[in-house]
């Protein structure tokens, strides 16, 4: 490989004293001292979570307090790091005979979760939602593997747009009373 020799210009007097550079640097520092701070004193100060933030996936209940998940296992299927493991189970709720299925256990391994949100996107019942919980930590690995109870505790209740099961229940009642037959 050919070697190319570059000519370096000799430094001027001002450059050799370093003074202009020091002064301009101090100027930058001074300007930033007068601006409002951009950092947070975490954990004393908490950040504002923007809308659409992808936090820890949680299971939610509908406004009637009924668990929305029907353990269709689509999230388990779509999950890229295979963090979800569902044990499906049957429920016999005399109030809602259409809701036949619910998870017996819902294991969400947050050590594996990559917060991609595909589970929320794929869920046909809008039962798993990535909410604003961003800090999940523990001293034991087992506690980071979330189970059904913990997931419902974290998820709480979200408003429902569809009330699918209520509509089905009403249709069944109407049919029983002879409205549609």
């Amino acid at each position: 490989m050919a070697i190319k020799v570059l000519d370096r210009k000799p430094l001027s007097l001002a450059e050799r004293t370093y003074l202009p550079q020091i002064i301009s640097g101090l100027g930058i520092t001074l300007r930033n001292m007068l601006k409002p701070p951009v950092t947070l004193q975490y954990p004393e100060e908490k950040p504002v979570i923007p809308k659409g933030y992808r936090g820890v996936p949680t299971l939610v209940k509908d406004p009637n307090g009924r668990e929305k998940c029907v353990s269709c296992q689509l999230c388990e299927f779509v999950c890229p790091p295979k963090a979800i493991r569902i044990t499906p189970g049957e429920i016999a709720d005399p109030e809602n005979p259409h809701v036949e299925k619910a998870p017996k256990d819902f294991e969400l391994n947050m050590l594996r979760c990559i917060y991609c949100g595909l589970c929320e996107e794929v869920c046909p019942e809008e039962a798993i939602v990535l909410q604003d919980l961003y800090s999940l930590n523990s001293e034991a690995r087992e506690e980071i593997v979330l189970h059904k109870d913990k997931l419902y505790e974290l998820g709480g209740t979200l408003p429902d747009k569809h009330f699918k099961w209520d509509k089905k229940k009403k249709a069944a009642e109407d049919a029983a009373s002879g409205d549609s037959h």
Partner: protein, 564 residues
């Protein structure tokens, strides 16, 4: 096709020419051309109902002048195809010479879309909680021909859900598309009319006749043939979504019929067994009792440890002790199992031949129970004929309990090897077993296994590969679906290790392929057969040498005993 080539007729499916037997319907003809005609009510082994209308296609026949009976030719001299003005259903239209079928035209597509829209009008769309999701024809065709949204704003029909129509079958009427496959199955296959239609119009539903339940031993076939999730199995209900399950071709061990099956497993756990189509053995059916056999894999009394005098040991120690016992034995009695594969029987025969004992008694213990003349035969050993072909035994028939007892008492037999058979039912009591060198090889513990000097755990049919020879002398292979218990060698591997310890000739390794190299070289009926070469529908082998054997099977589907 059994038809000779000159009887075949030409049919053109979307321009592709196929030769089919006369009487083949258009769905099957299109299938041969590699064109799928969607259908719900048509089933290859049931009568044609033609009620779902999903298989509508355009049909044309070569034009013939009515007056002169001469072909009508176009300007190029080719016979004109006269297309029917309206579509026809492919399931109920049989192929005629020169028949043309069009399945990809705008008219056909619109027909399918129209049918799909009507079918989905009252469909509850509870796919997330439906067990059929993933193998549902309604889902599949809805992706192909569905609208994607519903124009139907009225309330959907409400019908009974979760109706138990039998001990193993659950009916969801809302999902039913009224194809009537289950009704025809009951009428034509189990010949007991249990199901029928009731109500009219869109309120029409499937129901059991009053006082009847679907409790036949073949009831779960209606779950398989139901194209939607209306009929589901109580055993498989909500256990696992089908897209997680791995399908492994296997053979049912319930009886010598050798029903072809698919074992569905996920991560080493079997979830269900369904029939695999084989038109010369079991068509598309299998018994409910055969489907439940997977439950024997994970049970309490499963044998999982090699033991010597009751103490757990490693497999090498068990092999050494076994070989030592065989080398010292004066007389050996072997109670072989008709549930062992051809490979294991062959290796067991080699093992017995390698033992220096003077007296050798080998019998396959028969299991005879009444069959059902359909897919469960009287001989409950799936591989009785394999034992004959490999030369493990020279004839079928029980070990005479009295004889075995007399031989043991006289001291001419001092070693008994039992493969998956309980010896206490052969007149040997506890005291006699204690006197003997008793080796028990079995998948599960049994009454006599506790007296065994050496205990060898075996694998179930789901945990190993191998082959069986069924009542038709048809060689059929099965693959390994799930891994066996930890630390347990496959049955063949154990026998190969044992043969090695006895300094006998052994196959290159314990795989079925390697054992078959030796079998095909030594057994004349299996000459030229390789394990990989056994086709999916089985390989008929020559059983004429055993025509005089007193086989116990009666008539069943696709099998007539020689003496009948």
């Amino acid at each position: 096709m059994a038809e000779s080539a000159d009887k075949l007729i030409s049919v053109f499916v979307d321009g592709i020419e196929v030769k089919v037997a006369p009487g083949t319907n258009m769905i099957e003809a299109a299938n041969m051309a590699g064109v799928e005609i969607p259908h719900y009510c048509y089933h290859s082994h049931l009568s044609v109902a033609g009620n779902c209308r999903m298989c509508l296609v355009e049909m044309g026949t070569p034009g013939v002048d009515r007056a002169t009976r001469q072909p009508i030719l176009d300007a190029d001299g080719k016979q004109v195809i006269q297309w029917m003005p309206k579509p026809t259903i492919a399931c109920a239209t049989n192929a005629t010479p020169g028949l043309h079928i069009r399945t990809k035209t705008k008219l056909v597509k619109e027909c399918r879309e129209g049918i799909m829209e009507f079918l989905l009008v009252n469909h509850p769309l509870d796919c997330p909680i439906c067990d059929q999701a993933g193998e549902c024809h309604l889902q599949e065709y809805a992706t192909d021909y569905g609208r994607g949204y519903s124009r139907y704003v009225e309330d959907k029909n409400v019908k009974p859900k979760r109706t138990m129509i039998g001990p193993r079958v659950i009916l969801d009427n809302e999902r039913c598309i009224l194809c009537g496959r289950c009704v025809r199955f009951c009428k034509e296959v189990i010949k007991d009319e249990v199901l029928g239609f009731t109500e009219r119009g869109s309120h029409s539903t499937i129901a059991c006749y009053p006082g009847k339940t679907l409790d036949d031993n073949y009831s779960l076939n209606v779950v398989d043939i139901c194209p939607v999730g209306a009929l589901t199995s109580t055993d498989f209900r909500f256990k696992m979504r089908v897209w997680f399950l791995k399908e492994t071709p296997s053979i049912c061990t319930e009886s010598s019929v050798g029903v072809n099956t698919i074992v569905w497993s996920r991560e080493g756990v079997i979830y269900r067994i369904t029939p695999r189509r084989n038109d010369v053995v079991n068509d598309t059916w299998m018994s409910d009792s055969g489907r439940m056999l997977y439950k024997e894999v994970a049970v309490e009394n499963r044998s999982t440890n090699y033991t010597i005098e009751g103490k757990p040991v490693g497999a090498p120690e068990a092999v050494a002790a076994f070989a030592d016992t065989l080398n010292k034995a004066r007389g050996i009695a072997v109670l072989a199992s008709g549930k062992s594969s051809v490979e294991e029987m062959f290796l067991l025969k080699k093992l017995i031949a390698a033992a220096p004992a003077g007296k050798k008694l080998v019998r396959v213990v028969p299991h005879v129970e009444k069959g059902d003349d359909f897919l469960i035969s009287t001989d409950r050993n799936p591989n009785t004929r394999g034992a004959l072909l490999t030369g493990l035994v020279d004839g079928i028939g029980a070990v005479d309990g009295g004889t075995l007892k007399a031989l043991v008492d006289s001291g001419s037999i001092d070693t008994v090897i039992s493969v998956n058979e309980c010896v206490t039912s052969y007149g040997l009591d506890r005291e006699e077993l204690k006197k003997l060198n008793f080796i028990y090889m079995g998948t599960h513990f049994c009454e006599s296994s506790q007296y065994a000097n050496i205990e060898v755990p075996l694998l179930t049919v789901f945990e190993k590969e191998g082959s069986f020879v069924n009542q038709q002398f048809r060689l059929q292979k099965f693959a390994q679906a799930v891994p066996g218990p930890e630390g347990v060698m496959s049955d063949s591997a154990f026998l190969v290790a044992l043969l090695g310890a006895m300094k006998a000739k052994v196959p290159a390794n314990a795989s079925a392929a390697a054992v078959w190299e030796q079998i095909s070289a030594e057994v004349p009926q299996f000459a030229g057969v390789s394990y990989a070469g056994i086709p999916a529908e089985g390989l008929p082998v020559d059983g004429s040498a055993f025509a005089a054997q007193p086989f116990v099977e009666g008539k069943s589907l696709h099998y007539t005993p020689a003496n009948a």
